[in-house]
């Protein structure tokens, strides 16, 4: 078996089961989150000298894309501070397992379920990205808004409704968690069938029933089920990459939509932020102006029509090359697995080019987080431009090639014949060449 159960090793088991390590990290991220909001609102308006901008869009974003997601799936969700105030209130305490739910505890409306809102949220981030990424106050307002929204939703709805259905980050971490090397799964299903109470489901803030979990997309790695199970029947496994992708797995249309939004956004953001086209950047920045509406229209055209259109065409051809008894809708959903490694590696390559080049800003901004001329760590240096080295460019090519290798493998795995996989591979090649040209062309 290719699973390594972390609950079998003493120290990893302790870190997982004991509430204190996770709580300590969460308390720190919560305080850090609040400090970030304050820094953005009251600190320097110069983005490069403000903790909010550098830490959210360079430090945390890089950590998320290069470490948390590829190596830990939804591991950020495990320590994310945003749902914590609401969850602690729901549980009636910080160290309490989920019990009596304080709050209205309503079920999330059925028609708002799925990844649709999260995909839409990510599109919003893209449309207003140029302003958000360069204005400390806008970044702070966005963070404050989602903190308050998550809290309010926790008081009205059951469990982590914000995380499950609204959080744009949660959308794609969930999508890519299917490819990530960590999972929580039941050890022995027979033990569960003898257990009537289902305390794991009651404890789960994500509304997941661990026994039924076939995909890690909705599991936020909070470890509550592991702690609460009376038979110690939950395992936290290290596993091979891509384990939730395969011919038998179930997928839905909203996943396909989110996967496509992510791929389109990687391409468009590469063009805006890393290309030499100043007019595009100005248009993206001048929110509300005529140029911005043109930009938004183009953005949405690509993300909602062109890329999905090409994808649909590829799926249609793939269907025609195989047996015809599956609906297009089902094929669109099933083939969207190809988009998972494709989008993941595209975003990693983008992040290497975009954020890693500017990592030298991190230490100085810790020394002077508000841009008020402090020098707490003595690390303030005259800001330098930041550059992409040739090593970084090489890394981006390798990452994109891995993405193509991986998504082609998934395409071969989930289709019945080699012929059927080819249109999907053609789509992957098309987007990979697009990313290559934008990043290193």
């Amino acid at each position: 078996m290719n699973r390594l159960d972390l609950t079998r090793t003493r120290w990893t088991n302790f870190l997982i089961r004991n509430r204190w390590p996770q709580f300590l990290i969460r308390a720190i991220t919560l305080a850090g989150f609040i400090f970030t909001i304050l820094a953005g609102l009251f600190g320097s308006v110069v983005g490069s000298h403000n903790f909010a901008i550098i830490f959210v869009w360079i430090a945390w974003w890089t950590a998320l894309k290069l470490f948390f997601i590829p190596f830990g799936g939804r591991s950020w969700c495990s320590i994310c501070p945003i749902p914590m105030p609401g969850e602690w209130i729901q549980n009636g305490g910080i160290l309490q397992p989920r019990g009596k739910n304080f709050g209205l505890g309503k079920r999330w409306p059925k028609f708002l379920r799925g990844r649709w809102l999260q995909a839409g949220g990510f599109l919003m981030v893209g449309l207003f990205g140029a302003v958000t990424l360069t204005s400390p106050s806008v970044t702070s307002i966005v963070l404050l808004f989602i903190l308050v929204l998550a809290l309010v939703l926790s008081l009205v709805f059951e469990r982590r409704s914000f995380c499950n259905y609204l959080c744009p980050i949660g959308g794609f971490t969930g999508l890519y968690a299917q490819a990530a090397p960590i999972e929580v799964r039941v050890k022995n299903p027979e033990v569960c069938s003898a257990h009537a109470q289902k305390s794991c489901y009651e404890a789960c803030p994500w509304g997941v029933y661990p026994l039924a979990m076939k995909s890690s997309a909705n599991c936020g790695l909070c470890m509550e089920c592991v702690r609460v199970c009376p038979s110690n029947n939950l395992a936290v496994n290290l596993r091979p990459w891509g384990s939730d992708l395969g011919p038998e797995t179930k997928h839905t249309l909203d996943e396909a939509f989110l996967g496509l939004v992510m791929v389109s956004s990687a391409l468009i953001d590469s063009a805006i932020f890393l290309g030499p086209w100043g007019q595009l950047k100005l248009a993206a920045y001048a929110v509300g102006s005529r140029a911005w509406f043109l930009f938004a229209g183009l953005f949405l055209l690509i993300a909602l029509a062109i890329i999905p259109g090409i994808y649909t065409f590829a799926v249609w051809i793939s269907k025609k090359l195989g047996n015809q008894d599956v609906s297009l809708k089902k094929s669109l959903a099933h083939q969207s697995q190809v988009l998972v490694p494709l989008g993941l590696m595209a975003w990693i390559a983008f992040t290497i080019s975009f954020a890693l080049a500017k990592f030298s800003y991190v230490l100085p901004v810790i020394s002077d987080p508000l841009g008020w001329g402090w020098n707490l760590l003595g690390a303030v240096a005259k800001p330098w431009v930041g550059q992409s080295t040739s090593f970084s460019l090489l890394l981006q090519i390798i990452v994109l090639a891995i993405g193509l290798f991986w998504s082609s493998r998934v395409a071969f795995k989930i289709t019945r014949s080699r012929k059927q996989a080819l249109p999907m591979i053609a789509f992957s090649v098309f987007t990979t060449i697009g990313m290559l040209w934008l990043l290193i062309g």
């Binding site: 709580f23 308390a27 305080a31 850090g32 400090f35 320097s44 110069v46 490069s48 160290l95 005259k382």
Partner: protein, 131 residues
């Protein structure tokens, strides 16, 4: 129950620490700075100089701490012997001005910064020394 109280206290303490960094920082700066004037340079369209009029007396030094909020600006005073200062976004530069003749001096930006660059100016009123 004790653990819960400790946990809640920890959260509150950390949040208070987070909030107090900017507050304490500001307060400490006020104390240390005393009479240093925080001068923020912005393009004329963005608000021009944050302090547009400064008053002083002959022989009484003015301490300025300059920074820019948008683009590269310069700082120079007409009729006063000084090398113009480069005022960079996010960076701080300090200077002290002491006037030995009373009158109205104009300070201005000497690095072209916007279409209204020439309008980016302010006044230093130097009153005669006390008798």
């Amino acid at each position: 129950m004790k653990k819960e109280i400790f946990a809640r206290s920890l959260v509150i303490v950390l949040i208070i620490m987070a909030i107090s960094i900017p507050i304490a920082g500001r307060w400490l700066e006020q104390k240390q700075q005393g009479n240093i004037i925080d001068m923020h340079a912005r393009t004329f369209e963005n608000g021009s100089w944050s302090t547009s009029t400064i008053q002083t007396k002959v022989g009484e030094p003015i301490h300025l701490r300059l920074t820019s909020e948008d683009v590269v600006h310069g700082f120079a005073v007409g009729g006063y012997n000084m090398t113009p200062l480069e005022v960079l976004p996010g960076e701080y530069i300090e200077t002290t001005l002491t006037f030995d003749k009373p009158g109205e001096y104009t300070f201005f930006c000497n690095r072209w910064c916007s279409p209204s660059h020439t309008r980016m100016r302010g006044t230093i009123e130097v009153l005669p020394a006390d008798k």
